[in-house]
Symmetry: C2
Subunit: 430 residues, 2 copies
């Protein structure tokens, strides 16, 4: 019985993988990229804007044409279901189709479209899976129009998060709740379903958004987990004064104090080289920001990430000591903004991904997949709190993302879709 | 003959000084502050705005009421002339009445109003000076609406500067030329006169805008000169990339590079402590300025000042070495924006100021005046290229300026006006 199930899973997985159609995938990516497409090759399709709603409608119509049951939940997450032989918890795959203000055509969209390609491949192969296979399109992964990101997936996992998300406002003072109700109204023909449904597993295929696979010369990566992250704001309050008339010894220069602190943080990061610590001081607000006025107030952000939570804990302690111990004529404070422990995907899921990637690589005559961790957040980070989860990465040219120049060789995109088809086919049948 | 002239100069100077009316000065300051006055006590009266034109009209009417001949030049500088016994080059005093977007009621305005108070004092004393006495109101000293600052005074000294100034635009794309023509049109009743006229001397009374006099507990300062200044922009171009996915060793983080450079500049300034070097890194533009994106481009400004030109020359050499020598995966460049050698006022003028300040202080029972240098630019900096020039400072509370909280004790303002009356009375008669 056990052996028969394994044999069937292999058959389904290989059949799905072999029926993936690279040209069909290429067309699907180009079609979706037309929604918000830019002359520079980028895509501007922020969550729940008119263009995003049109893109979602396009996906709904395509899924229906493929015979899928389409459902929507309170967070406007869309589910495209290919029924299984039994009404068991489904295997879910997918990602998001919203973009940064200026993004590329692959970040998120690739995972959704590879999911629909998998449905087409299963259809073409005329196989039925034991469990249903569902493709999901999560709402507001990017977090650029309404913060935080990953609203749809995190609300799916814990619906109690949704009321607070609904109150988030965009730059035009539209609330996420208003934008959501408009999207649900526009999808009134799509039956509603509950969030937090049981799932047999979740697999997300995504571009790496970093340089690791490209540098390794490998097309497929099995993601072992998502690194830990801590965000902070450092705020310094001094006294704005005339740059010409104020002697150095009486100044309370907020920027001078922050440069001192930032320099020490960079030294800490340099000491930790080899530990995998990544430190970014990305956003700076200097007031009054005038060439001949001593900065009176400065705020900057600290983004620290590592696969090793202990490294981050040591960095956190160092940061607190540096900020608290800074001796200057003013005040400085540290405000923690966000923290997330590392996500580790289960070994059993990694084995399924590895097997799927290995076969796809071998048949294409490509180097074997490698394991890597994700530096970026993904919807899979939240799904991992809910069900067995895994991710597969394909390379990003020059490691670029959140950028119109985002790109991946099409043969690598096809390889990723083949690996996904194998992995999901296996999980839905084993 | 020489002795008789000296005796007469003393009589005129002391008579002018003694006829300064503190209450009249207080009223004049309050009246002018009503043009652009704010609830917080500050004044918003940027150059050649409607409110500035109304303030200028108020001054013209007051000057005419005092019997002055009013003239305007091509840069809309206003001159209020009290004739002398002979048609010799006049002694000029005054300052400006434009403010920063949010400024105080004294920066500039005090010097103009003390000049008009001097005219009233001479009238009350019924003395005639040998030379004419003129009070000037220079156009656009602040440089906040149209850059650079000191347009009116620097164009007076060198009219060839005016055509380039006329092309400067404000935030609404109005040119300085357009604003100037509107001001001249509105003053069509005021006879025109040429710029670059011969002057016997220029004396500017101003608030210190720094903490030196307050810390010394002294009400009057004889300004020996204006320190040297050099402005630069440092620009770094790296590569914007995802903070989570980009390993430290492949980054080209423009902010990390600039922090390194800024920290070294601060160390240079610390080494030069005692030399009088003042260093301000005041304006920072970070792109894309996002918490989770590695900064791709950063530009910051360097404002370096010193009374000792050699100290600045050494700093300049150090800055060039640091920027050129910075080893990182990107490009960094240094752009000089502005440089001005130190201004030294002539000893003969300093002697006249010292004598005027000493008598005013002695009669008021106040500590003797001290000498100091100006850290800020003033119209006097340009006039010094044209005629014997000097400045007198009164204290600024907490050293504050360019700020609604700008303040000076009224008794110190009266003392300053008395010193000015003595100095100008002397110069116009000796």
């Amino acid at each position: 019985m056990e052996q028969a199930r394994g044999e069937r899973a292999r058959t389904v997985a290989e059949s799905a993988q072999d029926h993936v159609d690279g040209e069909r995938l290429r067309r699907a990516i180009a079609q979706l990229a037309a929604f918000g497409g830019r002359e520079d090759g980028g895509v501007s399709r922020q969550t729940l804007t008119d263009i995003d709603l049109q893109a979602r409608r396009h996906l709904v119509e395509r899924a229906r044409a493929l015979g899928c049951e389409v459902r929507i939940d309170e967070a406007a997450n869309l589910y495209f279901r290919r029924p299984g032989e039994q009404d068991l918890p489904p295997v879910l795959t997918g990602s998001h189709v919203d973009t940064q203000p200026v993004g590329g055509k692959l970040d998120g969209a690739y995972g959704v479209l590879a999911g629909l390609e998998l449905v087409e491949a299963l259809n073409d192969a005329k196989v039925r899976t034991a469990r249903p296979v569902e493709v999901v399109c999560w709402t507001n992964e990017e977090g650029s129009r309404f913060g935080p990101g990953c609203m749809g997936s995190s609300a799916f996992v814990d619906p109690a998060r949704l009321p607070a998300y609904r109150a988030a406002v965009d730059g035009d003072q539209v609330t996420f709740g208003e934008a959501l109700d408009r999207a649900l109204q526009q999808m009134a023909d799509v039956p509603r379903r509950a969030m937090k449904q049981p799932l047999a597993g979740f697999v997300e295929l995504h571009i790496e958004q970093g340089p690791v696979l490209e540098r390794a010369g490998v097309a497929l990566g099995v993601v072992t987990g998502i690194q830990s992250v801590r965000w902070y704001a450092v705020k310094a309050r001094g006294v704005a004064a005339h740059a010409g008339t104020t002697p150095m010894e009486v100044r309370a220069d907020a920027m001078a104090a922050c440069i001192e602190v930032a320099h020490r943080l960079q030294a800490e990061a340099a000491k930790a080289a080899g530990s995998g610590l990544r430190l970014t001081l990305g956003r700076w607000v200097v007031s009054p920001n005038s060439i001949n006025t001593i900065p009176g107030e400065v705020e900057f952000t600290v983004d620290a990430r590592c696969v090793d939570e202990q490294v981050l804990a040591r960095f956190d302690a160092g940061l607190r000591t540096i900020v608290a111990g800074h001796a200057w004529r003013g005040r400085m404070e540290l405000q923690p903004l966000f923290a997330r422990a590392p996500t580790r995907f289960p070994q059993a899921m990694l084995d399924v991904m590895a097997q799927a990637c290995q076969r796809a690589s071998r048949i294409a005559g490509k180097p074997s997949p490698i394991e890597l961790t994700s530096g970026a957040f993904h919807d899979a980070m939240y799904l991992a709190d809910h069900c067995p989860t895994a991710m597969i990465f394909v390379p990003s040219k020059d490691g670029l993302s959140h950028n119109a120049a985002e790109e991946t060789a099409h043969e690598d995109l096809v390889l990723g879709a083949r690996a996904l088809a194998h992995a999901v086919g296996w999980l839905a049948s084993a």
